[in-house]
Amino acid sequence: MLASHEDPPMTLRSLLIALCALIMGAAALPGVAAAQVEIDINQGNIEPVPIAVPAFTGGGRGADIAQVISANLERSGFFAPINPSAFPERDLNIAVQPRFDAWKAIDAQILVNGQVTVEADGRMRVDFRLWNVGDGSPLLGLQFTSTPENWRRVAHKISDQIYERLTGETGYFDTRVVFIAESGPRGKRVKRLSIMDQDGANNSYLTDGSYIVMTPRFSAGSQEITYMALRPTGSSIYLFNIETGRQETLGRFAGMVFAPRFSPDGKRVVFSVERNGNSDLYLMDLRSRGQTRLTSDPGIDTSGSFSPNGGQIVFNSDRGGSPQLYVMNSDGSGVRRISRGGGRYTTPVWSPKGDFIAFTKQSGGVFHIGVMKPDGSDERILTTSYLDEGPTWAPNGRVLMFFREGRGGEPRLWNVDITGRILRPAPYQGSGSDPAWSPLLD
């Protein structure tokens, strides 16, 4: 049933992070200097900040690490990496201050330099520093240690630190995405459960494509996935441990079961059960396997998604005549409609920060990805196309991934930020759908 991993899953705990090895006290920075380069990512229109990320010294993976960092920051939309051919200095010794005037001359505002050292036990140590070129002030200095094969994750963790230091928001680069890799002609697509790093690297298949799979979701620990499989004999919900490869079903049901999502503590799954044509939301306790029925309305009730504190569930229902978004307490009480605009609203997803709910909206013959506050106010439409569907949140609650299928095209993964300003294809070359972003990895 399971295809073999092309790449063994990373042992998350093998990454030893010497996080507190602050070479320079970032907390003690003069506020004025830092203010010059701090970025408010909740602003709609900002100019990307020119940043220079020269190859880390020490050979080995130094150049690769710098490249991964540079690409991550560029994709965020808030940074404009400067072409390395313009760099005034190379092989920057991290013990020596860069020549800030020379970096100023190429309009760099931020400079990242670093060094890779292979230690006696074979482990790789990466030191890096973040500089404000304008006044030469140090913004951050950290050291990471890991096994050499984990160099991409080190680069992602450094990217997260830089992003957080400069934007004030948590990073989202050391994360993975599960999704459905699609191939073959329209109407007869082969669909395989897949996993990759958020930048498209380390892609591997988790199912072999012999049956349809849909709507994977991560648990809070990033080690378990729940997804739905569709076969001629019926549908099943699976729990799949990506570390061990162990897989089990949620159980046997008389009707269709679909739309599974973990609770924030990973102990329960909310999902839809269909009986005699009617779909309702159920909650299953994964340890006891006890089920609680949350809705019993003759309308369609599906796509439940927990609030980050686990107290509420947003879901999709057509009980009012057309598909709209509703919020209820996680025991099924207190149901209220939150979507108010014209159109059909589906696939609600509560932001991990709790401040927004993302959704798919259909109106005027096109599809949109949008966000609204949990009370339904402040609706923002972020995208428009022939078919945009299924948003998922990056763990910082500021970036979304979704899939877009053009007329005559294949589904592709896309990213958009919550302002709608930064909209671009996700860094995955193949055809894919139903992305789900992991939390930050350990």
């Binding site: 329209r186 109407g187 004999t233 044509g277 009617n278 057309s322 589906t346 299924g390």
Partner: protein
Amino acid sequence: MRFNTQSVLKMALIATAAASLAACASKPKPNPDPGPRPGPSQPDRPYQPPPGPGPVDSRPIPGSSQDFIINVGDFVYFDLDSFDIRADAMPVLDAQAAWLRRYPNVRIRIEGNCDERGTREYNLALGSRRANAVREYLVQRGVAPSRIATLSNGKERPVDPGYGEDAYQRNRNGQTIITDGAR
């Protein structure tokens, strides 16, 4: 269209497909007396073709999946975002019910399908409603509920991969598939 896996049925389908292309299909029959053969040994004798074979009618075996598909119809169609049985679907479902009453060993699966102008999970629910609407209609017409399974494919198995309303209409359907007991 999708069919079940029994090779017998597949072979029958090929015959059916041929039958649907031409009103009658013909097959050459072995002739016990083909007459004198033309050949180099008789170069001066003009060739006379043997007597032509007569027409052979072909039709699905009554009670077979092909009989059901060709003579009854396995698809009914739905309006946008609706699971109401339309007036044009009723005669098809009436005929399905009559056929199923006539062949009481046949078991079926009704699959509900949706067009792509909706999201996946909502369409799974909508497809379930469609499959169940067909099921209820057949039960009302005397087909035992125990003979009927239902499944929703949502928008995952479009019969028409095209774009535009014609394709979407074909993809909003309920398909009755014979799973067991056919001849």
